[in-house]
């Protein structure tokens, strides 16, 4: 982002919930930035996921399932307790002397909530078949992967039942 700020480049890819706000907090006004949101160009990809080795998954399926469930519960808790969440984050920020601040972390939390919990969003932690197939086919089209694994191959179901 410094390169972009120093005019080293004219365009930069940035996360809405992170770098975009860094630019704003480096003194650029929203009106000075032209944004191209990927979602506006058919690239509405679910981004983050929890991945593990197949072996781990087979060896301790309930552990993996609980881990995923705990992650989801953690997010839910953060969204309903934003101040407490920020307090915790900032505690680690201070300890690690990370170059960030509460305002930015707040932005991130709020934007994450916007991204994950919009109107009509799927249940937290759920991955719809359609979304998966959409991403997989784009990746294959772009030559990033050679073949598309099936949804069931990709997604581990600790209880053996796929949710729609």
């Amino acid at each position: 982002m410094n390169l972009f700020l120093r005019s080293g480049v004219d365009a930069a890819s940035a996360m809405w919930y992170n770098e975009y706000h860094q630019l704003i907090n480096a003194g650029l006004d929203q009106s000075e930035l032209t944004t191209f949101l990927l979602s506006d160009y058919g690239m509405r990809f679910p981004e983050d996921g929890i991945y593990c080795l197949e072996k781990t998954c087979l060896d301790a399926p309930s552990l993996c399932g609980d881990f995923a469930a705990a992650s989801v519960a953690g997010w839910e808790y953060c969204f309903s307790h934003p101040d407490e969440s920020l307090d915790i984050v900032m505690k680690y920020v201070h300890a690690a002397k990370t170059a960030t601040n509460r305002v930015h972390q707040k932005w991130m939390l709020e934007r994450m909530k916007d991204i994950i919990r919009f109107e009509g969003s799927p249940a937290l932690g759920a991955l719809s078949v359609n979304s998966y197939m959409e991403v997989a086919s784009e990746l294959k089209k772009g030559g990033y992967i050679e073949a598309v694994p099936s949804y069931h191959e990709f997604r581990f179901e600790p209880h053996g039942v796929a949710r729609p």
Binding site: L3, R6, G8, N25, A99, T100
Partner: protein, 724 residues
């Protein structure tokens, strides 16, 4: 000024008006002073801030320039001479030795720029624990090509200072890196060869800025190109917050505007809220050399203006004390002015209660003295006036008309009524037989009777501007022609007498209806010189008349019979032609040598037209004379034994008696009917002998005038008069 309610005291009015005006002037002057002082102080501070900022900025710039020179020199060298990977190390080492401010130097090359086999070529020398140590940067995990210190200079082709950062070792040391690109010339085109860098610790920067003391709590700070705090007295802001994040956190857009100005390298002076305390502050800012950083100095407004505020407070205290003092002075002054007014007011109350001797002190302001003097004069005048009024009232009040009293009060010498000799007309009247009539009446009835008579008489006298000298019982002494001169006093007196006689008829009508008996009044009027004046002592004074003419009038009055008015020759003289005379009486008076002629008045002709009722007074000769006993009266006392006599002729005023012949002219007699049966209703007459002549048979025939007729006798006379 604002309207002052009319009910307030003088002091309140003065305080509200003068105090208000003074306060207004004071507040205006005070506000003006404050604003001007404030403006001056702020202007001075701006100047001071500017100088301070520039001075610090120059100090920092001097250090940075020195540091910048090293990678610049290396870059130049790299462009002139190509050095091997190993040859770079001594260069770095020497440079570090000669430039103790620099922590580390790197000469990083573009991929494969040194040799086709060598992707990374970036020797880095730095000050380790044991002196200068070397390290070759660039591994698959440390790809320096995409790091800011390399990439920004690579992409922009310009030297630049990095954003400050904490050193890689996780230490507490804040660092910054200056990067200079170097190029090789291939034909016309410059190709980037690499980037030379120098790292410096920014700890000195913190120390430098911490040493800047601005008043008590003012301070200096530096922000980076991104607005991040590089130094700030509050450590928690450094490298965490930027002016923009603070603006968002504090919801203060002003800070963002200032921040944008600062990162653009502008200079300026702005009023902001302090980032930590939120207090009003002034911020001066200026760029720091070529670093792209900006230096700001915060001046807390409260401290900046402390002197002004202190001075203003002192001025306010002086002003308020002054106003209070002024109010005190006003109150004292107002009291000084109003005290005599209050005394005056108390005195007025005294005056109202009739104490005219009260005096207001003639002190204080000239207007007040004047007022007091006027008041005292008023008191004196009132006293004199009351004295005069009382005198006149005591002297005349009851017996002269209000008009006369008023005129006397108004006249300057109203009180100087000494005795004087003056020609007046005197009138005397009394009721015939009043004493005899009333001797057997209840006292209340006597008073009722007398008051009815007197009030009517006094009313008539007043109407004729008479002065009533004396009222004794039923007798009245009055005079005309004083104290005010009266040309026609004789005429007035006669006219008055006629009216009085006429009024008797009304009184008698009422009296007879109430069974009070018939009364007749005789009036004598005489004109002559008398002494008139205030007679008496200090304690009791009477305006009255004395002199022989008064006594003379008294004698005249004793000759009158009921219903008659007799006037003296002197009065007659003055009224000849106007008067309608009746009989003339030649009488001998005690103390008067020659006989005197008295004139009976029947009325006044044109233009007065007052007449007494015509009374049938023709003597009736009685075929059977009435037998009577006569008693002589000497000095109002009935004496001797009764002698028989006969009434041979009679009318309502007189009778002819025949008796044995011992009566004398002017003798007073009581005549009782001899055939009296009921002593309670005695038929009596009081008479005066007017003429005596001898008749045959040793007898006398006497003409007598009635001076009083008993009601029973009156009835008899009326019967006789009616029958014949």
């Amino acid at each position: 000024m604002w309207p002052v309610k009319p009910g307030y005291s003088t002091a309140t009015r003065l305080i509200l008006s003068i105090g208000g005006a003074a306060a207004l002037i004071f507040i205006s002057a005070f506000s003006y002073n404050y604003l001007v002082s404030r403006r001056t102080v702020i202007a001075e501070v701006e100047e001071r801030a500017k100088n301070l900022t520039l001075s610090i900025s120059h100090q920092i710039e001097a250090v940075l320039r020195g540091v910048e020179g090293v990678p610049k020199a290396i870059a130049s060298l790299m462009e002139i001479q190509s050095l091997s990977r190993e040859g770079l190390v001594p260069l770095i080492e020497k440079s570090l030795i000669f430039n103790p401010d620099i922590f580390g130097i790197a000469i990083a090359h573009e991929p494969y720029a040194i040799s086709p086999e060598l992707k990374f070529c970036a020797p880095y020398g730095f000050r380790g624990k044991d002196g200068i140590e070397f390290n070759f940067l660039g591994t698959d995990s440390y790809n320096y090509f995409i790091l800011d210190w390399y990439q920004i200079s690579r992409e922009t082709g310009r030297a630049h200072w990095s954003n400050p950062y904490y050193d890689e070792g996780g230490g507490e040391i804040l660092m910054a890196t200056y990067s200079v690109p170097f190029f090789s010339l291939r034909g016309e085109k410059r190709h980037l060869m690499g980037v030379a860098t120098a790292d410096i610790s920014l700890e000195w920067l913190k120390e430098l800025l911490d040493g800047v003391k601005v008043y008590r709590s003012g301070y200096a700070f530096i922000i980076s190109q991104n607005g991040d705090f590089i130094t700030h007295p509050a450590d928690e802001l450094v490298m965490r917050e930027s002016l923009f994040s603070l603006s968002e956190a504090l919801n203060d857009p002003e800070i963002r505007l200032v921040g944008r100005d600062m990162i653009r390298g502008e200079k300026g002076f702005a009023e902001v809220k302090d980032f930590l305390t939120g207090g009003n502050s002034y911020l001066y800012y200026a760029p720091v050399g070529s670093s792209g950083w900006s230096l700001g100095i915060i001046f807390p407004a409260s401290e900046l203006l402390a002197d002004v505020v202190g001075l203003t407070r002192k001025l306010a205290a002086i002003g308020i004390a002054g106003l209070i003092l002024m109010c005190v002075v006003i109150v004292l002054l107002a009291r000084g002015i109003t005290r005599p007014l209050r005394t005056l007011s108390d005195s007025t109350a005294g005056l109202g209660k009739g104490d005219f001797s009260v005096k207001a002190p003639e002190t204080g302001a000239s207007e007040i003295r004047h007022l007091a003097r006027s008041f005292n004069a008023l008191g004196r005048q009132l006293e004199e006036y009351i004295e005069k009024r009382d005198f006149i009232r005591d002297t005349f009040g009851r017996y002269v008309t209000a008009e006369v009293v008023k005129r006397l009060m108004e006249s300057a010498d109203g009180l100087a009524l000494g005795g004087e000799k003056r020609e007046l007309t005197i009138m005397m009247s009394d009721l015939r037989g009043f004493t005899a009539l009333t001797s057997q009446m209840e006292p209340e009835r006597v008073v009722l009777f007398l008051n009815r008579y007197l009030s009517r008489m006094i009313e008539i006298l007043m109407d004729h501007r008479a002065v009533i000298d004396e009222i004794i019982g039923d007798g009245i002494l009055a005079f005309f022609g004083a104290p005010e001169p009266m040309e026609d006093h004789a005429l007035k007196a006669v006219s008055c007498a006629l009216k009085m006689q006429l009024a008797m008829e009304e009184i008698n009508t009422v009296n007879e209806r109430e069974g009070l008996g018939h009364l007749e009044m005789g009036i004598a009027v005489n004109t002559g010189d008398v002494v008139v004046g205030n007679i008496g002592s200090e304690r009791r004074t009477k305006y009255g008349v004395v002199g022989a003419q008064v006594n003379f009038t008294g004698r005249m009055e004793s000759f009158t019979v009921g219903g008659q008015i007799l006037i003296s020759p002197s009065t007659f003289e003055r009224l000849s032609g106007v008067i309608e005379p009746g009989e003339q009486l030649k009488v001998q008076m005690k103390g008067v040598p020659a006989p005197v002629t008295l004139y009976e008045v029947k009325g006044l002709g044109e233009p007065y037209n007052i007449r007494l009722a015509r009374i049938d007074d023709e003597l009736r000769h009685l075929s059977s004379p009435i037998k009577v006993n006569i008693y002589r009266i000497k000095d109002k006392v009935v004496s001797g034994t009764g002698e028989s006599a006969l009434v041979v002729a009679i009318n309502p005023k007189s009778a002819t008696l025949v008796c044995s012949g011992m009566l004398k002219l002017w003798e007073d007699l009581r005549v009782d009917a001899a055939d009296e049966k009921d002593p309670g209703e005695r038929r009596s007459l009081f008479v005066k002998v007017m003429a005596v002549k001898e008749v045959p048979g040793e007898k006398q025939e006497a003409s007598v005038r009635f001076t009083w007729v008993a009601p029973a006798f009156y009835k008899t006379i009326n019967e006789i008069m009616a029958s014949q």
